[in-house]
Symmetry: C2
């Protein structure tokens, strides 16, 4: 007989605690800019809104602070972090290094695995091309995100995945803002295809180089946009 409230699911995962709920809710709110950067909320207020007491909210705030999304100011509240162009430079430096490494790893996989990975990456890239001809910008963004997430996941390095996840959470708002300003969507598709080709051939250094250069070009397109539009913090 199935238990009504299993403390663990069958695969060993814990059921979400209130802390997890608060963490997820706050993270989502920050992603969607329901909590705008610079906004200073009190734990009490958030707890009330989420229908729980202050404790789980406080603990979730600690985790979010560790993720770099908020700052907990002692006795003053929770501050939603803003990003300056300088932060985006930092973030891109990390992305450039780690995604290049991930691509190299994927290209170094045994043939069956790396071909499967290449197929998955190609599917995302095809979706990008389709969205581009259809003029569907959100779909393009989603497919692009899928490509990069898949690339990192296929490298099979849990720490690398986790770091990239954190850094992507930080930069999500900036990506959304600049999506409609970018003029070089077709270049991305072409570069993705070069990365995929290198992976298919098992050309690890080539995959590394192409992934790296793809992100470097994206950075060099993005940073001027942010600075010219005077986005001191977003």
């Amino acid at each position: 007989m199935a238990r009504a409230k299993p403390a663990r699911t069958d695969d060993g995962e814990r059921r979400p605690s209130l802390v997890d709920d608060a963490y997820a809710a706050m993270k989502l709110a920050i992603r969607n800019s329901d909590f705008a950067p610079g906004y200073q909320a009190s734990e009490q207020e958030i707890a009330l809104r989420l229908g729980m007491s202050r404790t789980p909210v406080h603990e979730a705030a600690i985790r979010l602070q560790e993720d770099g999304l908020v700052r907990v100011l002692p006795r003053r509240g929770i501050l939603i972090c803003a990003l300056a162009p300088e932060d985006m430079r930092e973030i891109y430096d990390v992305i450039i290094a780690l995604e290049g490494q991930a691509a190299e790893r994927v290209a170094g996989l045994p043939a069956p695995e790396r071909l499967r990975a290449a197929d998955a990456l190609a599917a995302h890239t095809d979706a990008m091309a389709a969205a581009q001809t259809g003029g569907d910008l959100p779909a393009w963004g989603l497919a692009d995100e899928g490509f990069h997430r898949t690339l990192v996941e296929q490298a099979g390095n849990g720490r690398l995945i986790r770091i990239m996840q954190t850094i992507n959470d930080q930069s999500h708002r900036a990506r959304m803002l600049t999506l409609r300003l970018r003029q070089e969507l077709d270049a991305s598709v072409a570069e993705h295809r070069r990365i995929i080709a290198a992976i298919r051939e098992g050309d690890a250094p080539g995959a590394h180089r192409h992934a790296r250069e793809h992100r470097i070009r994206a950075r060099d397109n993005l940073l001027p946009l942010l600075e010219n539009f005077g986005l001191r913090h977003l």
Copy 2:
């Protein structure tokens, strides 16, 4: 008149809260293997030992879990994480990528700054050479650590620094264990000097490549040691 218990120091830093104390104490205990990997402690017990209540210990445990040093098992206690050789492979992948990027950045700095950085790096490397001829292994380890920390710090990327700090905390125990097993200390000194030379010349790609290859070689020396000694978890 100076206040007895300033809430903030003059440069805007917060005074350590009990949570910070607990975090630092537990982190140190893990570093020193006072808490051995695999050990399962109760928050109550740690709280008692540190002379505080469970709350700050619990919150510190959340931060340590975010750092990957412990796992908080619901209603069962705090488990000190162990590292398998597989984890070290993951960790080295991240180090290889990020330290290469850091070296590139430092080499790309304006001449005065990068020469100052090179001098600092050279000082650490000289200390390594001296410790080596003197047979002082702990001093060698400390100087080596100083070199790599300086290299990353000089790149001036806060996120990169933070990530490397976290990953170094994770691998600290493994480094200590293998320090006395390594046979190639002189190779490290030579490779460091190559990195420094590239930085002095402002040769960013060269600095990147040398830093990368230095860490790749170190990994290829280290991983077999761990596996041959049957260190399933440490």
